[in-house]
Amino acid sequence: MNTKVKLCGIEMSNPIIPASGTFGFGYEFAELYDINILGTFSFKGTTKDKRFGNPTPRIAECERGMINSVGLQNPGVEDVIKNELPKLKTCFSKPVMANVSGFSVDEYVYTCEKLDKESQIGWFEVNVSCPNVHGGGMSFGTSPEAAAEVTAAVKKVTTKPVIVKLSPNVTDIVSIAKACEAAGADGISLINTLLGMRIDLKSRKPVVANKMGGFSGPAIKPVALRMVYQVYDAVKIPIVGGGGISTAEDVIEMMLAGATAVEVGAANLVDPFACKNIIEDLPRVMEKYRIENLTDIIGGAH
């Protein structure tokens, strides 16, 4: 049985990618298991400057999922290069996916240009879809023109494949994906979290301080599958599919919808061994559904 896939020209031993924001910079999970078993992982969303993010509380539980309003807390790109990447090097020998966010096109360009020189990085995942920051993040991912502008600008300063991570909080995901492809994107990643909220009955106020946040977890899987399915029909570049993935069966389902690789997010926060368990379970599930090569099933539901 063969679990190998190729994402934008880079081979991965399996399609499993812990999603950005649920896996830090990897080394904390490396204390629990050898993270080299992963296909790769997408590191914590990095911006030009250091950020604390939004006020707390910034977590709320939901049925079959959770809301976060962290707001891109990260140490800033210089610190990531100086401190986080060297620490990661001691426990991860595969190419890592660099998740990048910004508040202007210039910030995306600045951060990507700096990271492009780092040999540990295999791909860029350009996040135009964070629902938790104003005047940036998601606002770039909700119009085809803005998403294309970021994509084209980042492509100009990078040599590595650029995968654009899209927001599901839009009316027409296909037009945005196509605009990114036309602007030179090497891949599309979807979906980021759905904008949601919870209200506390005792205080009669929203649970998270930022009022709204990104909803993730198994509850969003049908939305993610639908969007991956639609985008697969519309673009030629590979898709990284994610949203509510927590089992090997989910991985197969997402690949049938059209994903070449699959991100696992919220599941990591409930079970730190979630990705390890999925990877170890994949051969069993492949056998059950008579899958010899995982690559054979990409887009198989179409």
Partner: protein, 245 residues
């Protein structure tokens, strides 16, 4: 940190809305008082972080207040129920700084972590003084358990229905101590911080996602930088605390 299955041995109400669960299993990864565990409950997406009250061999005692659907489910768990639990989370209290006569101040649901701390300090030959604060008489628990450890115990209630009337800061004024340790609601922590005459350690609470440092959900700002309550905390040194809210 270790993910283990813990079996509920007993589960009983010990005060108003307050329950004590004794669990059995591998608790070897719990290294310090003030650490917490994170419990997976049937039908709940996120785990429930609960502070450690006592740990002995393969037994773990938790005391918690029923505040929502998760803790309600815990309180109703029958003996024999198994909880998948991440153990040994957070930094816990540093006992090396206590001096000979440390002061332990617990408020409400912040009382439990003081128990294992007190137990260990007594074992080290220290003479801890314990102040336990509650809203009212119905909520008082563990007074005798602390006394049985050999500690000096002062109980106070906000409404004066039991023990000394007032907040924990009132008895603090008349006690001599070498260092302090505290856990409780944030307004209490702030008051203790202001009233304290020595250095000390305070344990904080926040809504958590993962409980082991991955999601950045529970971050706070300190004088020495951003910290995750679940990973670099929940215990902070008095000198590093920044009061924001």
């Amino acid at each position: 940190m270790k993910d283990v299955n813990l079996k509920v041995i007993s589960n009983k109400q010990i005060a108003k809305n307050t329950y004590e669960s004794v669990l059995e299993g591998d608790v070897s990864h719990i290294t310090a008082p003030g650490q917490f565990v994170n419990i997976k409950l049937e039908g709940k997406f996120l785990r429930r972080p609960i502070s450690i009250c006592a740990v002995e061999d393969n037994r773990l005692t938790l005391i918690y207040k029923v505040v929502g659907a998760g803790t309600e489910q815990m309180a109703e768990a029958a003996a024999g129920t198994v909880w998948q639990t991440l153990t040994g989370l957070g930094n816990g209290y540093d006992l090396t700084k206590s001096g000979d006569k440390p002061l332990l101040i617990g408020g409400g649901a912040g009382v439990p972590p003081m128990f294992e701390l007190c137990k260990r300090l007594v074992k080290e030959g220290k003479a801890p003084v314990v102040i336990l604060g509650f809203n009212t008489k119905d909520e008082v628990f563990y007074e005798n358990e602390f006394k049985a450890l050999g500690a000096d115990v002062v109980v106070c209630t906000a409404d004066g229905s039991y023990g000394t009337q007032g907040f924990v800061t009132t008895p603090m004024e008349t006690v001599d101590y070498t260092y302090f340790y505290t856990c409780g609601p944030e307004p209490m922590l702030k008051a203790v911080f202001k009233a304290s005459k020595t250095s000390g350690q305070l344990s904080f609470e926040e809504r958590m996602g993962c409980g082991f440092g991955a999601c950045m959900g529970c971050s706070c700002k300190t004088i020495t930088g951003y910290k995750r309550i679940c990973k670099e905390g929940p215990v902070m040194e008095k000198e590093e605390i920044l009061w924001e809210k």
